[in-house]
Symmetry: C2
Subunit: 178 residues, 2 copies
């Protein structure tokens, strides 16, 4: 049920088409909530059916620009204030880490170093994004800045963890070769 609310949230900032929203997911929300165009178009249809959004204007190439309705705005706010949040951190690299003892130590170490490099690179990208513009111009931009900060800290923590994990010496009992 998060996609629906994310769409409402994006439309609360400004009216947009399915195509616009798809790109915003790619560049802005994709790290924490990926969504491809078929799902977005489908969900826009449902939201329009439910009266939470409405067609604002139609442009060339069948382009339909949606805006959020007062009911839609109320619904995002309800969602945001709601306190039954799903705190699951679905993260494949961490799942893998539970099973790294199955690899020969060197291979596990190489894997962790590659992960560390990846996370540090992501942190660098976000640091650059944070410095790139003035996020105090609008409330929406300020929220983006706060969200970027979370990514920055998260990737920093993950990078540090992976680098540390790569240094942990293999346990006494070696993995038996298959």
């Amino acid at each position: 049920m998060s996609l629906r609310h994310a769409l409402l949230g994006l439309l609360a900032e400004e009216p947009a088409s399915g195509y616009d929203l798809t790109r915003r997911f790619e560049e802005l929300l994709g790290r924490v909530w990926p969504a491809k165009h078929p799902q977005i178009y489908q969900e826009l249809g449902r939201l329009a059916g439910a009266g939470l959004i409405a067609v604002d204007s139609e442009g060339p190439r069948r382009r339909k620009v949606y805006r959020v309705t007062p009911e839609g705005l109320a619904e995002v706010r309800r969602w945001l204030a709601d306190d039954d949040v799903d705190h699951t951190v679905r993260l494949e690299p961490l799942l893998r880490s539970f099973f790294l003892w199955l690899l020969p130590p060197e291979q596990a170490r190489a894997h962790l170093l590659a992960e560390a490099a990846f996370f540090e690179e992501q942190a660098r990208v976000l640091r650059a994004a944070a410095a790139a513009k003035d996020y105090d111009a609008t409330p929406a931009l300020q929220s983006v800045r706060v969200a970027i900060e979370s990514g920055l800290r998260l990737y920093g923590a993950l990078g540090g963890w992976a680098a540390w994990a790569a240094t942990v010496p293999p346990a006494a009992k070696p993995v038996r070769d298959m």
Copy 2:
């Protein structure tokens, strides 16, 4: 495709039934990769069909204990060594943070403080788990320790972030009431 490999990884440690695996997901892997029993039983069926696991023994109440086959073990290792990792951090609280500007500042602040409390509590739980036993006894346990460390650092970072975010003053332009 991660569930299948997680099951193989768990069975690589020791043979187990669907019921056992369901509980291990709940207590061990649930934070990063939730899985309910219907999915687990279904996937066990597929894995058995593919010859990656086999029935080790049958017990009372139709209990079937599976063990990983050499092919299955090779498959987890292939997965672990494979470097096309999905780095998506699917995390609802971060998605929400992009839209917090839609709430009145006090409400947003209260929400962030509740999140901070939650993450700090989780970090505390994991700190206790890390101190609870000797993780050097087996390679598998050592990997669990490393995985716990990632959670510790992650929740620490998220807790710090949420506490900081709660202190960010609202932007100049106030949110227009609907």
